[in-house]
Subunit: 514 residues, 2 copies
Amino acid sequence: MNDSHSYAETAEQHIPALRRTRIEPKRLVRVLPDEQAFQGWRTEHGGTIDAFASGDYAKGDSIVLDFGIHCVGYLTVRIGAAVGPADAPVRLKLIFGEMPCEIGEDFDSYDGSLSRAWLQEEIVNLDTVPGTYTLPRRYTFRYLRIVVLEPSRKFRITFPDIYVTHVTSGDPGRVEPLPESLPADLREMDRIAVKTLEDCMQTVFEDGPKRDRRLWLGDLRLQALASCRTFGSHSLVKRCLYLFAGLRLEGGKVPACVYEKPEPHPDDIYLYDYALFFAAALHDYYRETGDGQTLAELYPVACDQIRIGLERLDERGIVQDDETWYCFTDWRDELNKQASAQAVLIYCMKRALALARALNRNDDCNWLETEIERASKAALAELWRADAGFFVSGAEEQVSWASQIWMALAGVLDPVETTALMDRLFERPPGVGMTTPYMHHHLIEALFECGRRERAIAEMRRYWGGMMADGADTFWELYDPADKLSSPYGSNLVNSYCHAWSCTPAYFIRTYLI
Amino acid sequence: MNDSHSYAETAEQHIPALRRTRIEPKRLVRVLPDEQAFQGWRTEHGGTIDAFASGDYAKGDSIVLDFGIHCVGYLTVRIGAAVGPADAPVRLKLIFGEMPCEIGEDFDSYDGSLSRAWLQEEIVNLDTVPGTYTLPRRYTFRYLRIVVLEPSRKFRITFPDIYVTHVTSGDPGRVEPLPESLPADLREMDRIAVKTLEDCMQTVFEDGPKRDRRLWLGDLRLQALASCRTFGSHSLVKRCLYLFAGLRLEGGKVPACVYEKPEPHPDDIYLYDYALFFAAALHDYYRETGDGQTLAELYPVACDQIRIGLERLDERGIVQDDETWYCFTDWRDELNKQASAQAVLIYCMKRALALARALNRNDDCNWLETEIERASKAALAELWRADAGFFVSGAEEQVSWASQIWMALAGVLDPVETTALMDRLFERPPGVGMTTPYMHHHLIEALFECGRRERAIAEMRRYWGGMMADGADTFWELYDPADKLSSPYGSNLVNSYCHAWSCTPAYFIRTYLI
């Protein structure tokens, strides 16, 4: 089989069941501006849930509930009437926030580049009071602000019951506890990472359950790694791989992301690195499962991505650069992607080669060995600056963290030189740094792989530990310790604060530290 | 049986089925300010539905659909994506209007005394695009404004299908056509009146399907009259009478209105005239149906209302006046209700007497005859001013249209004097006039009953014909030809433009003119 329809059918056969858990709010909070607090907002205790449930509210009242934990699910609220019977609909504004900033700031002032519709705000009109309402949309939040816009003058409203039905396809019971001997902060980091992954595990591995709620190949690859060490959801990884295989773009290209609803369909975005990662993700899946049927069925798609990737090489054997968003690598405007794209190509060809060997595809083995050698030699010849000890990227010969890290992961230099390169990064850090946890994942992976275990742990503590110190319930899409309001979208309100590509501390801790 | 629970059970056994009809929009319109137009707004053709269905829309676009007819029901809209795939939720504002003013004016400027939640405005976030959405609430409208708040920059949205599922418990097939010999304007008036009634006929006779959507006794009495001549929904009248009987307030008082949801319950409003109308409505129901079992079961409740009403008489035998909203009569601040309340008491006692006779309750007959005589004599002795030829009301001896009309309906004077009183109203009109179609109904009824058929028709043409000239699709809650923005609630936006108590031209035309 190598037709999209059959792939899509296999994907649909592996839709997981969702587990549902009732979560009730833990307390009321006040959200207050505070220059010292993360992103300028802190919470303080604002009352008990008992007081909330027995109180009554009039037009203009505003309450913030703290559910005490990051939730992904469906809100149910029971509304009652006090003083008099309800003689008109109740109109409420509901604002759901993963973070205090979403509760503290006014969404009407939002001017980010992504749709404001991602900001979780509803205005609801409820006709029947008393009544119990379950909102139809799924929300991702820890905090919920309720603004009472309209009861009539005749009555006051009450909230005798409110809860969220949390959903995930991950089974926390399958996650092995960590040994007590592991330092407490790393166990806590693992707990938060596992929770991050759990909340992104729905009927696909979503990138972020608040935003974008879709399946990206770059996120999938990291989630699959973490899942193997925690929830063991191989079936969900398989489903996602088949979705990508079933939803290829023109010319057989794997899209950067796909949507599940109303029926599975691809976005029109093709990213050079993400498409190549299909081979890497399939490699990781096969290594973990030994599932030869899936390997045989999806291998042609993986090979196609390599073939398509190779078409971008110029006569020197170097990935052609351009000004478009052709390759992801990291969220960093000034970053030139040429060198990292070259490295990702090599990295993925090496993994495709392992698959070709497993399938005894000798022709493919020869082809891949040749291409790996060509691309690696070209990288050394054209991008490596032995005098500086760094790889350069693009016409401006940019030196960035990303280029070095990806060349290290691709193994273009020999192991001793690779370790030296990674050490050099810290001794003489390039000016073009890293933005996302996604890029930081590759830093950590490269450090572990070249034997720099202590530095890897230190960097995890600096970066993910920084999020913890800043109050993360789940790990974030973006984190720049030097600019805590940073966002690639023009507003930190729309950043995702539970983001799949940030979950890999669980993978590192469980792969390298126990 | 005389217990609330049994009454309520009988009411529940008569919940009617709703008929559902699909209604599609007929055209696009523009709503434009125009000082010459009713309430300052007119519509003009803005495009075809084909153009709308094949167009695509971006952030900031605003479209007004005209469904061409007054609808009560559930909106279904199919949303598609054009240009690119939808990569974010769609956020729309939907504004439903019975009248152009609701579409033309900004609800955010509303400052009426009733809850803004009655204004039909939704902000919806739709996650799945393409997708078909049926909104959970029922709306009452002819016009629908769609404001595109948020698609992302990546795509434009389309509306390939949109319709309303209109609901009513009235069966238009049961309405007899009028003879062609009847003047065309009266046939048109009847058509609009029947449509008004149809749209208020849900699982109770609602007062207005936009607002308040509940069962008021004053409205029920008029709807039942019109229903007998049109839809013949005796079962729905029965259900409503049993609901009132089953939901009495302390002391056995019938409430002025009741709610159906979440389960039937009374409002805490008691109105002197409305409670007494229970007897009148039961009388009308029995006259039309001969349903002796219902009469026997509900008669005690009707008698109780008379008994409670009599308790308000002072030592002179006159209804005690006060400054509270104890009696409805009409929406008119300066109107004194004493005389009309006295007349309603007499009017209803006469109907209770007819019921007592039908049941051979001789003791009750004697009691009612005595009380009718006492109240009528007191009215003549204390409220009638023979020199002026009018009844007065309250300590200030106010002379109003309402007082004369109700005294005429109560038959306090003899028939010749009553006719003279009604003629005098037009020869020397009192300064305190009428506001509502509800009060105008009683004017017309009094004119027909005293033989002033031509004047009755002329007044119907002046008043309901005025609404027709002003563009009524259904007849309105309020209509003051001299002040077309008038509202008892501080804003004409919240007035109901399909209101049960305005449906009685169908009753008059079908009772007195054919």
